[in-house]
Amino acid sequence: MSDNNALLKVQNLKKHFPIAGGFFGRIVGAVRAVDGISFDIARGETLGMVGESGCGKSTAGRAILQLHKPTSGRVFFEGKDLTLSSSEEIRQLRPKMQMIFQDPYATLNPRHSVAKIVGEPLVIHGMMKMGSRELKDRVAELLDLVGMDPVYMRRFPHEFSGGQRQRIGIARAFSLNPDFIVCDEPISALDVSIQAQVVNLMQDLQEQLGVAYLFIAHDMSMVKHISHRIVVMYLGKVMELTERNTLFDNPLHPYTQSLNSAVPIPLPRLERQRKRFILKGDPPSPANPPSGCVFHTRCPLTEERCITAEPEFREIHPGHFVACHLADERGSSKLL
């Protein structure tokens, strides 16, 4: 799926946040939240992005949409380089790239009615007039699309449960018929039974409307469920990128293998017998990342070269990219 007509192309994207310190608040360092990531997303595809807290996955999503100005690197959307575009040019492209946020409580204005929340993007982009019949019809249509009764459009966010609020957030993201949506942990704040409702809805909408998702989450099982391909991040870098089943059947990076092994499978008989590899320690701070391969401090296979040289992010099999010195056809990077 990775060819030249990709919808979105990310090349060596970096986002560093300065650390101010000392008496005059001088810049004394940088948090390397996203430190050189590359991938692309095809039309209608779901690319999953997983990693533990602090790996830079949310920052990556925001940097792609230019909500954070990237430190360096390039982001092409339909062939146009967003990092070189003016804010007006980006504004013109906004209807095509939208975002769904994690916290359905913080992202809806409590003083706006559902009709205003869902309809506002259409008004801002000058497609419809506030208060028009046309806008009301479109909002009703959108609410219907996300499985909510259009009569709710006069209500306010506090009258809804978490799952319903997330539906409102999804309706808003879809109001401008986007081609691409960054979904930043859209289901983490929801209960299990509600998560399934929202995930099913997102899949249905993709099927109907052909939108592409960057689905950011820390829940491996859910990412695997919804994605076509998956990017594994650790400390601001991409460790592995491949097709969903390959990532679980033949993971090459030791970090991916240990992540897979740490995720419980909800079947006791299987879970008790599973051979698992448990990683030691915690992820290091992105303000002071380790030398060479950023994973070397926790990796059981670390060699001399892992400490001194940063591994190249290379294609081992067609479409299967890994950033590990040891990864090869013979399985030298396998843990178990």
């Binding site: 299990v192 995930v199 006791p268 990683l279 915690d282």
Partner: protein, 331 residues
């Protein structure tokens, strides 16, 4: 095996300005010696309030334990103890681990002092003895360089390490029961696996019973012997884990399991979603709390609260519909 804890018909309510919140509406369960029991439920299912009621940690007012008995170790009813007596039990015979280790630990005391305090308070150890024992505990929960770490403050520890400290406090006085309330929810998945592994080891070496409260059916699969699924402040189903996962008898359990994607699934099947939202606890319970969301509900489900019905060995379910036979249950 003998029972170490017996909870009978616990009812806890909160009297708030919005009305009476019916948080726990009659929960009964036993805990066997050496057993790990998981209490599983979504937010508002009453799982945490149940635990806090047993330990006398419900703020009163607005909370009130309306009825129930909690028999610990065959003699004491915990609900009848005075606050001072309860304090001896808490942290002594019953240890606990909460979800968020940063708010559990005191930020201005060293972690060594916090663990030693439990020992001097409950075991009457001298400061020196407590220090010796604390160093052993730190090693036991997998904290490297105990001598050095004794003098560290909580902010110097990562989330996983802090949770290890909280576990060290919980096991300090050789408790008979450890109650863990979502102990891994705030942690990353690789750290979660470390903590689960630590619990498994400790359970072997200390011969302790564990109540593990969680919303995550995945974690439960690896650690629990039995699981109690709660819904709307009531037990929905209780069974040994193999039975529960492979032969769920309550439509809610069935739905929950279907809503979970599995890492070992080859094909992405469509997830089963349970329609609707969890019940409003302000409405007093007059029928099955799951009836609104249940696709099998029939008239009886709207008239009575289903009692726990035994359907197999150690397997009980509170449902009037027989999933196996595909029709109303004959009780």
């Amino acid at each position: 095996m003998s029972k170490i804890l017996e909870v009978k018909n616990l009812v806890t309510k909160f009297y708030t300005l919005d009305g009476v919140v019916n948080a726990v509406n009659g929960v009964s369960f036993d805990l066997e010696e050496g057993e790990t029991l998981a209490i599983v439920g979504e937010s508002g299912s009453g799982k945490s309030v149940t635990m806090m009621s047993l330990l006398g940690l419900i703020p009163m007012p607005p909370g009130k334990i309306e009825s129930g008995e909690v028999i610990f170790y065959g003699h004491q009813d915990l609900l009848q103890l005075t606050p001072a007596e309860l304090r001896d039990v808490r942290g002594g015979q019953i240890g606990f681990v909460f979800q968020d280790p940063i708010s559990t630990l005191n930020p201005i005391l060293t972690i060594g002092e916090q663990i030693s305090e439990t020992l001097t308070r409950h075991k009457g150890m001298s400061k020196e003895q407590a220090r010796e024992h604390t160093l052993k505990l730190l090693a036991q929960v997998g904290i490297p360089d105990p001598e050095l770490r004794y003098k560290a403050y909580p902010f110097q520890f990562s989330g996983g390490m802090r949770q290890r400290v909280v576990i060290a406090i919980a096991i300090a006085c050789n408790p008979q029961i450890i109650i863990a309330d979502e102990p891994t929810t705030a942690l990353d998945v690789t750290v979660q696996a470390q903590i689960v592994e630590l619990f498994k080891q400790l359970r072997e070496t200390l011969d302790v019973s564990v109540i593990w409260i969680t919303h995550d059916l995945g974690v439960v699969a690896g650690i629990a012997d039995r699981a109690l699924v709660m819904y709307g402040g009531r037990p929905a189903e209780i069974a040994p884990v193999d039975d529960l996962y492979e032969r769920p008898q309550h439509p809610y359990t069935l739905g929950l399991l279907g809503a979970l994607p599995r890492l070992d699934d080859k094909e992405a099947k469509r997830l089963v979603s349970i329609k609707g939202t969890p019940p409003d606890l302000l409405i007093p319970l007059q029928h099955c709390p799951f009836a609104w969301r249940c696709e099998y509900a029939y008239d009886r489900c709207w008239q009575e609260i289903p009692p726990l019905i035994t359907v197999g060995e150690a397997h009980q379910v509170s449902c009037f519909y027989d999933l196996k036979q595909g029709g109303p249950r004959d009780v």
